[in-house]
Amino acid sequence: MAILEVRGLSKSFDGLTVLESVDLSVQEGECVAIIGTSGCGKSVFLRCLNLLERPDAGSVAVGGREITAQGAKVDEIRRQMGMVFQRFCLFSHRNVMDNLCLAPTELLGMPRETAEEKAMGLLREVGLAAKAGAFPRVLSGGQQQRIAICRALMMEPKVLLMDEPTSALDPAMVGEVLAVIRMLAKQGRTMLIVTHEMNFAREVADRVLFFSDGGIYEQGTPEEIFDSPQREKTVAFIQKRKYFTYEIRSKEGFDLMELQGGIWSFAEKYGIGGARVYALQYCAEELIYEFFDYSFRDTDAVQMTLALTYAQAQDVITLELESSGAAYDPFLTESEAAEDDDAHIGITILKKRIENFAYRFDEGVNRVRLEL
């Protein structure tokens, strides 16, 4: 039997139908990713499941108990669904341990000692045991979200609902939260995750739901949805953004020709014109060698990832380079051929070509991003 059973769920706001007669069965241990454009109703759907939004029609049952039934013990059934929000929603005036223990002690009558033991176990799992006494304000967004996930788990829910759990985070912190969710998926937790992280959805989900036109427009395995979507709007959504990534693990082993060939094929496939391809190749080459020469001076082993994203609708190509090695901001350098100092001339030329570029160093990683 399905652990979560949704039948005929409908919801409209001021006459605007957002969800129309949605049916969904989720099996125990299944991880379901919900994707779709902004305003497609995916978050409303999630909020209707635990009655944070009251559906206009339809039924929702968790573990065989219908939360939408007349006279249902809503609070009790709702506890079967742990919710993780975009903005962590921790109690700011209570420390981490109190945040975790409050609901189970107050609502489930769990002895404080048992709750603390359970909380410490969860904190250890998410790598935050040392923060038990800390207040939310001293924690990073990523840490707060990991705590918020622990808080949801304290109630031992049958289903975890996550509403864009990484979208309020600084990009540098997305990884640590996704890592925790990945772990939960491996543990066989039943989860519904509304997300914009397509690569993550592909990797972690057993099933992907694409929401459009008031409901589940298309669903399937990650391979079915991402590699061969069948319906028009799914195709448009999936193909809106195109990705190309390239990993570099050693200076000696780096094959510039292979990378440039990859960029060329990527560009050709999506109709990116000749001059822009050369510009892309130029930026990639100059940045990579700038890091080879100045961030990885005395070592052959490197850890670099170059990623290109093409947003077709906006016709913008984003190049992102993540690199381990010594902190090094390539854009601080300046040199001119005419001044007989050509050490950084590649980057100097790059800066003349590109208006939007940024550099950050956090958690041991150099991050360069530029737009063409």
């Binding site: 510039l256 050369y278 130029y282 100059e286 001119e336 051929a337 005419a338 590649g346 030329i349 070509r353």
Partner: protein
Amino acid sequence: MVDETVASEVIQENGWTIFALTGRLDRVTAPQIGEQAESALDSCAKLALDVKHLSYLSSAGIRILLRLAQKAKKEQKAFAVCGAEGFVKEVIEESNMNAIVTIYGERSELG
């Protein structure tokens, strides 16, 4: 497809030794081309690098042009670049190289 390599050709024309390049001048192909071009400069008084058929140029190629310009100056020889178009022309202009190297539009303009 990407032009996989770079090719060079040496031609004599109007008293100039023309070192004509085809393909891509980047960090991988630059060292070899640099050596060939320097030895061409060694055996002539006027060297012109014809980049008309060069499709791609990165800073590694710019550095070769600068080395050649410096060497020519030191040895009191003439050095010029000609034929730059499209992306290659843009990179040459953005490098400010025209301040130290004479740039001609076409090979036929070489004086």
